[in-house]
Symmetry: C2
Subunit: 598 residues, 2 copies
Amino acid sequence: MPVYNPPLRDMQFVMHEVLKVGDEYKAMPRHAEVDAETVNAILEEGGKFASEVAFPLNISGDEEGCTLNRETHEVTPPKGFKEAYAKYVEGGWPALSCDPDYGGQGLPITVNQCIYEMLNSANQAWTMYPGLSHGAYEALHEHGTDAQKKMYLPKLVSGEWTGTMCLTEAHCGTDLGLLRTKAEPQADGTYKLTGNKIFISAGEHDMAQNIVHLVLARLPDAPQGSKGISLFAVPKFNVQADGSLGSRNPIYCGGLEHKMGIHGNATAQIVLDGAVGTLVGQPNKGLPAMFVMMNAARLGVGNQSLGLTEVAFQNALAYAKDRIQMRSLSGVKAKDKPADPIIVHPDVRKMLLTAKAYAEGGRALNLYCGLLIDRELHHPDEKVRKDSAELVALLTPIVKAFLTDNGHIATNACMQVFGGHGYIREWGMEQFVRDNRINMIYEGTNTIQSLDLLGRKVLGNNGATLKKFGKLVAQLVEEEGVNEKMAEFINPVAYLGDQMTKFTTELGFKGFQDPDEVGAAAVDYLRVAGHLVFGYFWARMAQVALREIAAGNTDPFYQAKLQTARFYFAKLFPETAMLMRTARGGARVLMDTDEALA
Amino acid sequence: MPVYNPPLRDMQFVMHEVLKVGDEYKAMPRHAEVDAETVNAILEEGGKFASEVAFPLNISGDEEGCTLNRETHEVTPPKGFKEAYAKYVEGGWPALSCDPDYGGQGLPITVNQCIYEMLNSANQAWTMYPGLSHGAYEALHEHGTDAQKKMYLPKLVSGEWTGTMCLTEAHCGTDLGLLRTKAEPQADGTYKLTGNKIFISAGEHDMAQNIVHLVLARLPDAPQGSKGISLFAVPKFNVQADGSLGSRNPIYCGGLEHKMGIHGNATAQIVLDGAVGTLVGQPNKGLPAMFVMMNAARLGVGNQSLGLTEVAFQNALAYAKDRIQMRSLSGVKAKDKPADPIIVHPDVRKMLLTAKAYAEGGRALNLYCGLLIDRELHHPDEKVRKDSAELVALLTPIVKAFLTDNGHIATNACMQVFGGHGYIREWGMEQFVRDNRINMIYEGTNTIQSLDLLGRKVLGNNGATLKKFGKLVAQLVEEEGVNEKMAEFINPVAYLGDQMTKFTTELGFKGFQDPDEVGAAAVDYLRVAGHLVFGYFWARMAQVALREIAAGNTDPFYQAKLQTARFYFAKLFPETAMLMRTARGGARVLMDTDEALA
């Protein structure tokens, strides 16, 4: 059976030693009182919930899956999921980073990100139930009417009700402009919605009293395409004036998808058969409103893969130390045993360190983004808020695509460490691979993320936002440029930064002449950008480790951090050279081929 | 539901136009009569069997899996598997490349490889039943006593009986020297075997009257480690002097593994409880005897991934032409539709072409290896036989590891083309990914393959065999060096060949000082070698295409072949630069890390 130990030490390292969140929080009136002790106590409690409540249900949830009663349209999640959710609500976890005006605890997003990383390690399928709810909370908090906020937010914050986002239809996922679900205005100001949605995560279950579906649909007079889409709040049970639950609204689960993984999550086909809803935000402005939720969700998906990368690493490491097989190439290591533990083999270490470097780099980036959102929401200086918002917008597609692709690489590498046993379900490793696989797809495929990054976020403003990140790199170079010990970490990042500037300009020119050149280079470009960002954070983490070691700190944690940084720059970072070369391979070799690809 | 169309045209291209097997066969007395017409007729029939009989059982077999009756220890494969196997036997397919002395049809291995590729595309889990049998046939044909050959071979050739290989035990897979199954000699010259095996593919089923298990075990006086292992033939039902089936031998299925994929294959835990067996080959020489089977199996595993790469490509291509979503970046393409088919998007094409280039390159290499084995077995010139044997030994770990890793990349890319639908079982794409995943593990993990290549096959003889492959490259360069049209294909291969020579020498020196340097570089090295070999075959395929086009042939097949070659060299081949760089990153960044990886 797999193990999971909350990586509290490493989270605290990133939070307190790298990002120095304490100093950051002090600048924000809302969070000024949040000190390290508070943060650590919450992480510890969250870690307990993740490892003791959510994690034991991970394999059983995968095996059992969800069950739809076709007569009642009710869905039963796997055994234990409902009870675990009740404990989660009881513990006040849904409220953690929510607005105190609606019962929230108003804690920083950064802290919430740590809790979610641990929940994702423990049980991605289960975590999606509260995860989707939180997204619905954010969309309603930002775009809901006062009446909607009053009706829904306290219940979402307490966790008594959950939420979903209903976007996809069978014929459209990426291209929401094609969607067909209709919303007919009623005399009382509500709307009746009719249509069919698919792939609705946490779409139906018995874990909460009510479910608030946020549904994209078209008004009768809506323009064609993506500018004619509106957003509606459609509850499972209609809510009466006094807040109590009324009649069952005809929005129900017509079927459950049979999926490669995340079996414990009810991925529902949702039928709307004249379901009553209310408009969220402006008519025909549903897509921008939904994007509030989508952006949070995209960061959340990156966090899911971060969680899976960490838990896969922990298990592969434990196995590699325990499993004996063959002797070390450089001579017997475990003389008392008939073979050496497989961690003596260089390629086993390479697989382990790949996962470790991606987990720790991902954690730094993920929490940095959390901090940017905390600044965006609560920093008193408007310029800081604006800059932070821009930077997190730039980094969001990188978090989504780079972390999930890395999760794919890492979970597969960790599964490979187990040899044949990795293919066997009971060990839990192949589930991490299967669960991670959706993260590369949903909330916008990784190709879509790359087009968002290169087309919109970078070339869309002539690289202005990218330059802001470049300034952070330049600042680090300035700080540490003369420090010989930092050269091995700083030089590759500085060099790649320079290359990327040229590379970006080059793609801008090519894309101007032929937009397909952007499409052909985007995926490679995003991965290069991902390494630039990871390289920056690995250099910063090495900086902290070097300083601690220089100051006489003998905690082996810092030596390990340095070694992992060295591994990262020697074995993973060089991918960037290839990526720029294949991107420069251009669009013609793709587009000149006959469409038949005969 | 997925589709599968046997790629007869491309197989015929490789067989007749690239490898010119007709000329090759003429030089071999056994195959002198095998002309193109015969080959094509067999491929067509084999394709029909694969697409019409095996393929329709692929998804249902995955859904249903195998069932063990714990009282009788009998295993029932998924519905239809038994009937399909009966048809396979009736069609004489098991006998195709077997020795006519035992009822075989004596056809070339090359032809058999084509049939297996199609069966693997259609249904890898099903194909493993006859596949393992064929391996048992080969081991007994090479190492069996006359009595064993007489008793088992005709039944394996006809397909009435099937075979397995029983190597792995719970505590040892890679390191077979640790195995514990015991064989006690009996007065009548037989042995009684006791022990527990795991991961036995096609280990128990009701598709054949009898199953011949080839089992590795230890004699009482055997030396420790891998030099104390012997090979035994242990039938499910004891065979009487007249060839009829006698009593049930106590070798039975104690449990079925729950796996990520290949659910239709019975992966059995096999219990030997004093089962009667006979010795195959010499005492304590079981491993070398088993390696006959293992080498064939390794090529077979590469062929499995080739099959999955091809079928995944076909389905992703069909979907990409059919699914409409968004408009082309370079302007509307399908004016009559609300969106363009997704094949207009550059990255979708990149994913498709990746699978296509890996499928077609893999097919060329796979069939070339088949041809080398045909030469090794039947060429009248001893030197040709010896050279061919050496070359196929060199290429075997490349076929196993490179084709299966490419299969991982390709099946995942093709699944990604489907977006969210790729994650849904009914579309079949995620099954290709899951089924392929075992190919990177079994028959020696891909890390083991890389150590076999670099440590044993390359450095073990100071690169002598590698130089033989280098001569083929040099010959092509000589032939086409002045042909301007070939420069784009020849130059990168010639350049990489030069680099590899230096790279190999360098690794030899480093490995001499520290063997872990070999272990650290081996996986990267194998992938570079894989691209050298693929580059060579892509250049040869481009050569044929250019000649046909120059001769006025307007079949679009040749233009597509050229375009795919260009794609391969622009987008996939450049990986080699990164791989040499990461390999040069060395062993220290791996081995200096504390074992705790704290």
